[in-house]
């Protein structure tokens, strides 16, 4: 286990080396939130609510969604896995006593830990300046349920990204599948608009998919739109287990197909 902890620590160090990148990344997210702030403020105009959201609730929703995307959406591992398989640097994992999925998991846990530290402080600053426009909940228990729910969402994202990365064994280039997945999931998880504002048929389809448990459900638990009952935590656990076994199966099949470019 110590070797994986080392990978975790190295990922944090990597984040510190590229701190300017982290800060510019943060700046770009704040800019998007800033434009949404103006858009929704103009959209509300004289209206009190849109759907069942007040302006303050809507802005808080987007702020929370940005926080989740920055800390728990681990998209970069798909590129990483894809490049390692395509360029042949994956070979090294075949001869080292390392479990590849654990290596990727601890790497991204380190990254997420670093991002959480940086972005939590940054979002506190936003709260100081924009606090009057937001409507954060007061109950501590909601924050605890939110963290648990985001944690489960992290693993759903992780296994999806991991499986898509492994598809390089068959496809060679996976940019297309990555972007297709990102676009689709951004709609279905609720990071573009809150899911309860979408048409009914899309909401019904989404009930059979795990995406809403990554963004919409955690925020809805936090802002009190839904009560944190057990099913909201058990269903994502079921999805995580399903994706875990699926990833093991795909990895096994993929290794058989791997041609070991560069050996």
């Amino acid at each position: 286990m110590r070797k994986y902890f080392l990978i975790f620590k190295n990922a944090i160090r990597e984040g510190m080396i590229y701190r300017i990148d982290t800060l510019t990344f943060l700046f770009s997210e704040i800019l998007i939130f800033f434009s949404l702030f103006y858009l929704w403020s103009s959209a509300y105009g004289e209206s009190v609510t849109i759907g069942n959201y007040s302006l303050k609730e809507m802005l808080f929703y987007y702020l929370a969604a940005h926080f989740i995307l920055l800390t728990a959406k681990n998209n970069e591992i798909t590129w990483m896995i894809g490049e390692e398989i395509r360029m042949g640097s994956f070979n090294i994992f075949l001869v080292q006593p390392l479990d590849y999925s654990k290596y990727i998991l601890f790497y991204i846990l380190g990254k997420s830990f670093f991002n959480t530290l940086i972005f939590t402080s940054a979002f506190c600053v936003i709260f100081i300046f924009f606090g009057q426009y937001l409507d954060p909940p007061n109950e501590i228990s909601r924050y605890i349920y939110f963290i648990i729910s985001v944690g489960l969402g992290f693993f759903i994202h992780f296994f999806f990204n991991y499986i898509i990365g492994l598809s390089t064994f068959w496809l060679g280039m996976i940019q297309g599948i990555i972007f297709s997945f990102w676009s689709t999931s951004s709609l279905l998880e609720g990071s573009i608009v809150p899911l309860d504002l979408l048409p009914d048929f899309l909401q019904r389809i989404n009930d059979f998919l795990p995406f809403k448990y990554t963004v919409f459900v955690p925020i809805s638990i936090l802002n009190g739109k839904i009560d944190p009952d057990l099913a909201l935590f058990l269903i994502p656990v079921f999805w995580i287990l399903f994706l875990f076994f699926l990833s093991k199966f795909i990895f096994k099949k993929g290794i058989k197909r791997y041609e070991g470019f560069g050996i």
Binding site: I17, Y18, I20, D21, T22, T24, F25, F27, S28, E29, L31, I32, S35, Y38, L39, S41, S42, A43, Y44, G45, S47, I50, G51, L171, G172, M173, I174, Q175, G176, I177, I178, F179, S180, W182, S183, T184, S186, L187, I192, V193, L197, L198
Partner: protein, 272 residues
Amino acid sequence: MKASAFRKFWHYFKVFFVIKKLGFTGRASYRLNFLLLIFAVSFQMILSVIFVRTVFSFVKEIAGWSYFESLLVLASYMIVEGAVWMLFGQMGAIKDLIRRGGLDSLLIKPVDAQLLVSAWRGDLEDVSRVFSGLAVLIYAISNLNLPLEFILFNSVFYFLFILNAVAIAYSFALFLQTMSFWLIKGHSLTMIQDSILSVSKFPTDIFFNKIVRFVFTFAVPIAFISTVPAKIFSEGFNFIFLLESFAVAGLFFWLSRKFWLFALRKYQSVGG
């Protein structure tokens, strides 16, 4: 003198075209990946329309813009963004060339280095952004009940506005990506670029704070990327806007060129 300038321009155009052709061929060589990219890019555009549709299903107008007028803004953004991705790959080649040491070999070629880095990357799949934008534009115009002669007359000027918008977006991309000379990784520069450009999805009139609106009109002129071109169909032709559009595009192109040349003088090379 004029003939020689024309010959030089033609030569540069041919170089740009040949590099593009090679790049596009390479891009399309993984067919399934390429088709999925087209799907992803088109779907991303559809998502923007879904977002605008969702917002307008609850309100009639935003900052004086109706649903179909807002679609004009969104369509202009799609066309400009798509053109800059397709033709110049958002200038993302600069950071890759610097990091991998590939810039050195471009600098010794007998062609302007800015032209080479501009042409180096171009994502053919982004042609679907341009087509999606055109489809949204036609859909919006057809629902605004405008007279045919009004549409035909203003389409010519709309095209000029879009050309200037592409020049502004290109210059902005060049300016930001040139900062890669001082950054180690530089991947986040593309994110900043995308975020700033994505602000132009919405009419700049939403920025009710006058200072913010001024910044997004002249300091970071996103207003000229989509809001101003869209106004030609929502409000009619405005000669002052056209002059401003040319002036801002020219100024930004000149500034980004100066910054690029300044960065080149400071460049220390990686492994060349």
